[in-house]
């Protein structure tokens, strides 16, 4: 009876090892699938975040460019002269901007 039991144990041991190996393979494949899926998802998220950041940068850059153009207009001579003449009632006195001193005053 004892000998029969020993034989049964011997014959069962390899079977258990084979099943375990399969489980390990399945686990590895499943894990690989999960990791792959996770990486793809993260990669897509990262791509989206980069895209959103780039869009924000583009928007800011575009706004900056528009502001520069506006600055050019704000400092344009036509605008400044108009304000000086119409709002501040200033006038150009080109001919009177040179002051002469006689040689003795030097």
């Amino acid at each position: 009876m004892a000998a029969k039991n020993n034989n049964m144990i011997k014959s069962h041991v390899p079977r258990k090892t084979t099943g375990f190996r399969w489980l390990v393979i399945i686990f590895i494949i499943f894990s690989e699938l999960m990791v792959y899926t996770w990486i793809r998802t993260e990669s897509t998220h990262a791509l989206l975040r980069i895209s959103q950041a780039e869009e924000l940068l583009l928007h800011k850059r575009s706004y900056h460019k528009a502001l520069l153009a506006e600055k050019e207009w704000l400092k344009s001579d036509a605008r400044i002269t108009q304000i000086a003449k119409n709002r501040l009632n200033l006038s150009i006195v080109t001919m009177k901007q040179t002051i002469y001193f006689s040689g003795e005053d030097r």
């Binding site: 099943g19 399969w22 393979i25 399945i26 494949i29 791509l47 989206l48 980069i50 895209s51 780039e54 940068l57 583009l58 928007h59 850059r61 575009s62 706004y63 460019k65 528009a66 520069l68 153009a69 506006e70 050019e72 207009w73 400092k75 344009s76 001579d77 036509a78 002269t81 150009i92 080109t94 001919m95 901007q97 040179t98 002051i99 002469y100 001193f101 006689s102 040689g103 005053d105 030097r106």
Partner: protein, 577 residues
């Protein structure tokens, strides 16, 4: 019994194991099929859904003045397109969009009601407007990043700069002539889209290396503005039809200003008359009138005639063949200098009679009349200088005082500059250099002497004569500026009847051309006023504008007075911005 049970369990385990192995094998086989056998085909199919190939174009380069101020630049904009077939309620969509863009609602409704797959809604829309339309969430309306040309100084130098069309290509002026330099380069790229169809990496690929090159002009924004203001005032005060003013550096031929009146705003060019788009200083020829007498005098001096040579001026009336020419005043004996100073037509005609037609023709063609300056602006006129062998007697007389010959404003200022710089005809310059998108010099243009036209001695004597014009008894006293020695020449030419023969009555062109300071000329200026109504003499109409431009430019450039050498002049601070 326990043995049967164990056997049953064992069999079940074997079955399950077989099933699991079979499933895994199937999965592996399918995975192999998808990943390896059909991998390429499927990935292409997927890519087609979220990516596509398009041709992108870089931003257009800038147009800058000589101090790197922007005269023409590009700003970001959005192009709105539609797929009318996908729009469920075209009327409602058209109303909402038209309200936001301030465009014709009826026309837009027609566009959106068609069954086409593509239609333009509006190009060059501001990003703010585009965001508002995007917020409406209308199916079938699409947005694409684009750029729009913007001229921050509006009317300033509009005829010189020109403008671009809806497709960002140059249509007029330098925008047209230098289109190949300014326009952005194109590249075919693959774009990735997200689930909502948004392009993910567009801007990264639309990088600066695709940006067009920029051009730096010789134009000085400040002097351009001063010239435009003075010209506008002259044209308005004299109820004239139009006007042109040019400012040139005589030593180099650099054009600092090309002013036109009436002006137009290139940002909204459709709102202006097409005639105002043209750079008339280069494209249009006119009879310069008495301003040509300085070139007649130059021909005489080169032939050995001295400024003190006297000529009888026939007391104001002189007959050439069947024609009679007149002076505004009755003169008897005048020196060559006095002929220029008092602008005697008879004196000028008699100078030509003494030196011969060939000498005058050679001198005028030497100064560049009758041929293009090759400044690099489309549609440049060569003017009209008939070969001397075809001149009749009246032709040679008339040409000597600036009738029967036509020239562009550019030719005239270039000729006057040659006298100012001591006798070298310079090639006029409008573009100083071309810059890459990274700001590096690609090409630089340098002053170029075309030829020597008169000797330095002749130039010196002509300067003295032209100085008399602005002094007492001269015709151009209104151009005099206190403290500076100004050289100039007035011109008043009758206009040819449009589409007819002969000269129109009461239609004149008033001209004043000159330079200063006399010893070392810094600026040469030409002012032309077309069809002034109240007064018409160049000395009354154009000379005051010349004076204003010259005085204000000197003030801006900090060019000190040269008269009163025993006095010290303190200039207010000018300076460039």
């Amino acid at each position: 019994m326990p043995g049967d049970f164990n056997n049953r369990i064992r069999r079940r385990i074997i079955v399950i194991q077989v099933l699991m192995v079979a499933s895994i094998l199937l999965l592996c086989a399918k995975s192999f099929d998808i990943q390896i056998l059909k991998g390429k085909e499927l990935s292409e199919k997927a890519e087609n859904d979220y990516s596509r190939n398009i041709i992108i174009k870089g931003e257009r380069g800038q147009i800058l003045d000589q101090n790197m101020n922007k005269l023409g630049a590009s700003i970001d904009a959005v192009t709105i397109t539609a797929c009318p077939a996908k729009i469920t309620n075209p009327g409602d969509a058209a109303k909402k969009i038209a309200d936001l863009l301030d465009i014709n609602q009826k026309k837009l409704k027609e566009t959106l009601s068609s069954k086409r797959m593509f239609a333009w809604v509006e190009r060059g829309v501001t990003t703010e407007q585009a965001e508002k339309i995007r917020a409406l969430n209308i199916a079938g309306i699409y947005f694409e990043n684009d750029s729009r040309r913007y001229y921050p100084n509006r009317n300033l130098a509009g005829q010189v700069i020109g403008f671009t069309g809806a497709d960002d290509s140059g249509l007029e002026g330098l925008e047209f002539k230098y289109n190949s330099v300014l326009e952005g380069r194109t590249r075919k790229i693959s774009l990735t889209r997200d689930g909502n169809g948004r392009i993910l990496d567009y801007e990264k690929k639309r990088n600066s290396e695709l940006k067009g090159d920029s051009i730096v002009l010789t134009i000085d924004k400040k002097i351009q503005f001063l010239s435009e203001q003075a010209l506008a005032q002259a044209v308005t005060n004299h109820q004239a039809r139009s006007g042109i003013a040019l400012v040139m550096k005589p030593g180099t031929g650099e054009l600092l200003a090309i002013a036109h009146f009436p002006e137009f705003n290139p940002n909204n060019y459709k709102g202006s008359d097409r005639d105002t788009y043209r750079n008339r200083a280069v494209t249009d020829a006119f009879e310069p009138g008495s301003a040509m007498k300085v070139f007649t005098a130059a021909a005489a001096l080169e032939k050995g005639v001295t400024p003190k040579t006297i000529i009888f001026c026939e007391k104001g009336t002189y007959r050439i063949g069947s024609f009679t020419i007149h002076d505004t005043h009755s003169y008897e004996w005048l020196t060559i200098s006095q002929i220029i100073q008092r602008s005697s037509n008879i004196g000028a005609a008699k100078i030509t009679e003494s030196i011969g037609d060939k000498a005058l023709y050679n001198c005028l063609s030497g100064f560049g009349f009758g041929s293009r300056t090759d400044i690099g602006i489309t549609g440049e006129t060569p003017g009209n200088l008939i070969p001397y062998k075809k001149w009749s007697k009246i032709d040679s007389g008339a040409i000597s005082f600036g009738q029967g010959i036509s020239a562009s404003a550019l030719q005239l200022i270039t000729g006057i500059s040659a006298i100012a710089n001591g006798g070298n005809l310079m090639k006029p310059m409008l573009v100083k250099k071309i810059l890459s998108s990274q700001g590096e010099d690609i090409k630089e243009y340098h002053p170029e002497i075309v030829r020597r036209v008169i000797s330095p001695g002749t130039a010196h004597e002509l300067k003295a004569m032209m100085n008399l014009v602005v002094g007492e008894e001269g015709t151009g006293t209104k151009a005099a500026i206190d403290g500076y020695e100004i050289c100039g020449k007035t011109g008043t030419a009758q206009k040819v009847v449009e589409g007819g023969k002969g000269y129109a009555k009461r239609k004149y062109i008033s001209v004043f051309a000159g330079f200063a300071p006399m010893e070392n000329p810094e600026l040469a200026i030409l002012v032309i006023v077309d069809e002034p109504q109240k007064q018409y003499y160049g000395g009354d109409v154009a000379a005051p504008a010349f004076k204003t431009i010259m005085a204000e430019s000197f003030n801006y450039l900090n060019i000190p007075p040269e008269k009163n050498k025993n006095m010290v002049a303190l200039l207010s601070e000018g300076g460039k911005n």
